[in-house]
């Protein structure tokens, strides 16, 4: 009986953080990629595990194309965004023959693949592994938690937009974290306010303050607001590094500050 190669693959990963929401379209993948980039710019080695099997956005956002996934002795080799290997990725997007193919799978198949993603990817040495999740509280989330039990989950970051339909779902997700014993590192209010590029008037398209209220209501830390920024949207679209292109923007300073807060709270546990 050979020992499972998977058990050792997370042994050199210092911290595992889930990016959750409950609500779709609030910017989980965007926040995951931006936090990852902010952390790598601050000198950390980061991994991103994209467990959104039906809608894998991470490869597109980081403009890694569709490289082949290779195997090594310890399992699958993650895809690196550059030669310095500071940012490692794994996503179903790399495994599909046709990138536009719809992944129409029921729960057990998704559970099996996520189990492999957690155990069989040779992450190597990482400071932080960010796990981007799909919306909801379903098979994928249960599979992640079950498979990470052997390692540990250091915490979860909840992303919401300020409006009521969003905070309602994220509230359920916070309860899910409490019930499953996952520490809530904090709540991020994304798409919080839009500043007109023409007249600088700030419009609260998706309302304002909902994320902060939710954090208070649930006794969680409020990590901060990230504004609705068309430059961030277009960087994501084009797969460019927003942190490199707009390091002086309000958006980047918000994300950078949030990433420092998260790293500090991980290091103090």
């Amino acid at each position: 009986m050979f020992p499972r190669a998977g058990d050792g693959n997370l042994s050199q990963v210092r911290h595992v953080v889930l990016i959750l929401s409950g609500k779709g379209g609030v910017g989980k993948s965007t926040i995951t990629t931006q936090l990852a980039l902010a952390l790598t710019h601050a000198g950390n080695k980061v991994g991103i595990l994209d467990t959104d099997l039906c809608g894998p956005s991470i490869p597109r956002m980081l403009s890694v194309g569709r490289p082949d996934v290779h195997q090594c002795d310890s399992g699958w080799v993650p895809v690196y965004t550059d030669s310095r290997k500071n940012l490692a990725l794994m996503s179903i997007g790399f495994l599909l023959a046709d990138p536009d193919e719809a992944v129409v799978w029921r729960g057990p198949k998704k559970t099996a693949l996520i189990g492999q993603f957690v155990s069989d990817v040779a992450w190597g040495e990482l400071d932080v592994l960010l796990v981007d999740t799909p919306p909801g509280t379903s098979d994928e989330h249960l599979a992640i938690l079950e498979n990470l039990k052997k390692h540990r989950v250091d915490g979860a970051v909840l992303v919401t937009t300020p409006q009521a339909v969003s905070t309602g779902d994220v509230r359920r997700e916070i309860t899910f974290c409490k019930k499953t014993g996952v520490r809530v590192l904090g709540v991020i209010e994304n798409m919080s306010g839009f500043v007109c590029p023409h007249c600088s008037e700030c419009s609260n398209i998706f309302s304002k303050g909902g994320g902060e209220e939710l954090a208070k209501l649930t006794g969680s830390v409020f990590l901060g607001c990230v504004p609705l920024d068309p430059q961030l949207s277009s960087s994501i679209e084009e797969g460019k590094d927003f942190a490199e292109l707009f390091p002086d923007s309000t958006t980047f300073s918000a994300i950078s500050s949030i990433s420092h807060t998260i790293l500090n709270s991980l290091q103090t546990t």
Partner: protein
């Protein structure tokens, strides 16, 4: 679920086929070795053919047959593939617009998003549904639209941590064990993704068509495209694509900003050969009235963004 069932059945079928051939070889042993061997081979090929035929019949039985919902004439699903593009908002306003366009039509609304039910908030409905005399759940009604959602059956803060099988069972109940009465249209607000709920609904009930909602950005369109491909795979006709959050008009200077890109959904519709149903702009009005539980078709019927929704039906 179907695959699991198939593998168990095929295993059982294989076992019973092997048992039968052993019995037959036992009775034929007196005829002589060579003849017996040939006879065994013939028997085995006949058994294999019969087995394959039985497996085919079992597999055809394995997929559920589509059965219409009692009293409902046509089902329209509002889906995307991507989360947060405005499926629920579109579904709610579409249902109301269908009624507003033709007051003789009766329209119902089913919230199939089990994990993040938004319909109760958007339709300003609260409370538990009562049961009718024949044990069917009575949908809650507002603005003349009967609605059913998981949100009526659980607490506001309670997460619904269910695997796919439980969700399938819940969907079956929300479809069949609700006293819809007689409806011309049932609009179903689908959850994001292309998984259990989408498969359960399209396999169990005949769907007249799907409206795909997307924002203009590529990231959303990738998933919307997958959603459209999924519907094609399960033979659900696509009624068209709606481009939501298409443009933002600054309330102060009226400057137009395409926050999420421009025209992406229109181009996708063209690429897929589907109809482009129209643009819905990003307007503070829509979000504000949605948060209040007053769909914009009802609260601001004169506003321009609403006219588009009127034209969608």
């Amino acid at each position: 679920m179907a695959l699991f069932t198939y593998s168990i059945m095929s295993h059982l079928l294989r076992l019973s086929a092997n048992k039968a051939s052993v019995l037959r070889t036992g009775t034929e042993g007196k005829c002589g070795a060579a003849v017996c061997l040939q006879f065994i081979r013939c028997q085995r090929s006949v058994d294999t053919k019969a087995l394959q035929e039985r497996q085919k019949q079992h597999m055809a039985k394995g997929l559920p047959r589509q059965k219409p919902i009692t009293g409902v004439k046509q089902v329209i699903v509002v889906a995307s593939g991507k989360g947060g593009v405005g499926k629920s908002t579109t579904a709610v306003n579409l249902a109301l617009a269908l009624m507003a366009n033709d007051s003789s039509k009766s329209v119902g609304l089913l919230d199939a998003d089990v994990y993040g039910p938004s319909i109760p908030k958007l339709m300003n409905l609260k409370g538990n549904p009562e049961l009718s005399d024949n044990n069917l759940m009575i949908p809650l009604t507002n603005y003349g639209v009967p609605c059913m959602s998981m949100g009526f059956l659980v607490d506001d803060a309670a997460p619904i941590v269910w695997r796919g099988l439980m969700v399938m069972s819940a969907m079956e109940k929300l479809l069949r064990q609700v006293d819809w009465g007689s409806l011309d249209y049932l609009v179903i607000d689908m959850p994001p993704g292309t998984g259990d709920v989408q498969l359960s609904i399209t396999q169990n009930i005949p769907v007249a068509g799907a409206v795909i909602v997307s924002t203009p950005q590529d990231i959303a369109l990738l998933d919307a495209r997958r959603g459209a491909e999924m519907f094609k795979k399960v033979n659900v006709p696509i009624l068209g694509l709606v481009q939501n959050m298409s443009v933002f008009h600054c309330p102060k200077c009226q400057h137009q900003t395409h926050i999420f890109g421009s025209d992406g959904a229109r181009q996708l519709a063209h690429t897929l050969g589907e109809e482009f149903l129209g643009d819905v702009p990003l307007h503070l009005n829509i979000r504000e009235s949605s948060d209040r539980g007053q769909p914009v078709v009802v609260s601001c019927p004169q506003s321009p963004e609403v006219w588009l929704i009127f034209f969608l039906p």
